[in-house]
Symmetry: C2
Subunit: 306 residues, 2 copies
């Protein structure tokens, strides 16, 4: 009977062990491992800083408000994870760099609608506002073989720093989004405008956190890309605009040096005409190296869109 066992006696020194022991009967071994580590780190944090009851209450309020700020189109907990660098850490652990592979970054909160299929060379800018640019690239595997027919999904902010879903009714639906299919040589190209840096949403608890810690909310200018093909590991990454403000202090720690590319100014009337661009225009080339995986593409659920 439960009442025959000796009474537990909680004390601060053994607290993590006592709580970890309470999870020792967890049937799922992985869940038990995660909870045990979580308990040890949370208790160590509380002890390391000597968290007071008042500070704990502030923490409870902050977490509660963070959850209550979430809606179908706003995910404040992901934003919190982002500004604490946790999202980038998880993403980077899942996609170790090296071997010449293109580095990954977070998918971010704006990949919430499907990008419209477009033809190579098309523009994703349906408004004609902003500085025109040409984006070219080629999808290759680690062995330098082109990934023919790779799917290249792109989405980006406009010249004011907003995504289409942030300006419903004001800009065309799915503006600055496109789903391209690379050619037989793994090459892709499309027209767009140079994206602008922009702030993450600041009207919630995470915005308050940034404010009281003296951090700015800006993300360096970037284009999102997600590259998929049968037999390759899906790559989710950013193409950053060299020279953008906030490359040194991106609010969600998304910048990796290898992803910063020059959007050079090209003065070449013939080439501009060929692409249907005004002269001069900006041009960036983004060579992409992805990993072949033995697993069928369908099983790679971790990189799928939300």
């Amino acid at each position: 009977m439960a009442d025959q066992a000796p009474a537990m006696s909680f004390d601060a020194q053994r607290s993590a062990q006592i709580v970890a022991d309470s999870f020792s009967g967890t049937p799922d071994e992985r869940l038990r491992e995660i909870l045990t580590s979580l308990v040890r780190h949370v208790h160590a944090f509380v002890k390391d800083v000597g968290l007071t009851v008042e500070e704990w209450e502030q923490g409870i309020r902050f977490l509660t408000e963070t959850g209550q700020k979430c809606t179908d189109t706003r995910q404040e907990f992901i934003l919190l994870s982002d500004v604490l660098g946790v999202s980038m850490l998880v993403e980077t652990l899942a996609n170790p760099a090296g071997g010449g592979l293109t580095e990954s970054t977070v998918e971010g909160p704006f990949h919430v609608v499907a990008s419209p299929p477009r033809r190579l060379g098309d523009t994703i800018d349906e408004r004609g506002s902003g500085e025109p640019c040409l984006v070219t690239g080629r999808v290759m595997d680690e062995d330098g073989r082109p990934v023919a027919g790779a799917s290249v999904d792109v989405w980006q902010a406009d010249a004011d720093g907003f995504y289409d879903v942030q300006r419903p009714g004001e800009v065309p639906d799915r503006n600055l989004r496109g789903l391209f299919t690379a050619d037989g040589d793994g090459r892709f190209w499309f027209r767009s405008i140079v994206p602008r840096y922009y702030p993450i949403p600041t009207d919630g608890p995470v915005g308050r956190l940034l404010k009281i810690t003296g951090r700015h909310p800006y993300r360096a200018a970037h284009i999102h890309l997600q590259v998929r093909a049968p037999g390759i590991r899906t790559l989710t990454t950013h193409l950053f605009v060299a020279g953008s403000p906030y490359l040194d202090s991106d609010a969600v720690f998304g910048v990796k040096e290898s992803l910063v590319h020059d959007f050079a100014t090209v003065d070449d009337p013939a080439r501009a005409a060929e692409h249907g661009l005004p002269n001069p225009f900006r041009w960036v080339d983004f060579p992409i190296t992805v990993r072949r995986s033995g697993a069928p593409a369908g099983s790679d659920a971790r990189q799928g869109p939300a």
Copy 2:
């Protein structure tokens, strides 16, 4: 200018340092200390377990649902803190044991209405259901001097395991709550019923967590007490019923051995009549030792009711 600094380059190995550095401009030194430690522990947790993107997504969903379960009368994040032993750890750090002081426990989520002032000897049981008991005690300081006129606020579950606020309209308002004033000798006494063990709310994310980890949701039977007086440090504690189930595995880790007391059966018709109790009756005595503090009582905000 921001765009002249070199680009940040996030990597998993230096991640905690990179994020901690982002908080280096936090004006409030204590907040900076807390955030730096939090970042280090959260990043270490993610790396220690090798948290996958899918597990991170599950975590985000769990935290979001926990926030969204909260209302004016339901605090699921405190419940989460409770079942992870964090609430007890914070409380215990704030009130170190030793020197013969009565140990503290958490205030819990049911101290949400003011207890009605009652006279010494009164019953707090307005329904007459349950096993009658007499509770006696004496409030003393570390030097053994009685704390005359100490305020003793008590609240407890009924014989079915529910607090009054959980059964609105069904039981008298403020049933099983009472605010007593100790006599000139620091003594207090009142009548009640023996409380029952009870489950914490299980219809939210925290209940699901307990279920999938094979943990039960029960708290060992107890009476809450909060003792205040000018010039003493407010004490928030529990009086546990010896022999109650779950003393060895209280769902919120609230049990400390020194707080488990025998609710003995007394067969004494004269004493029963003196207290207006049926014979035999249960009796528990709870000697309480509190700490004198130099600070005025009003400044001790940390122990105040929510």
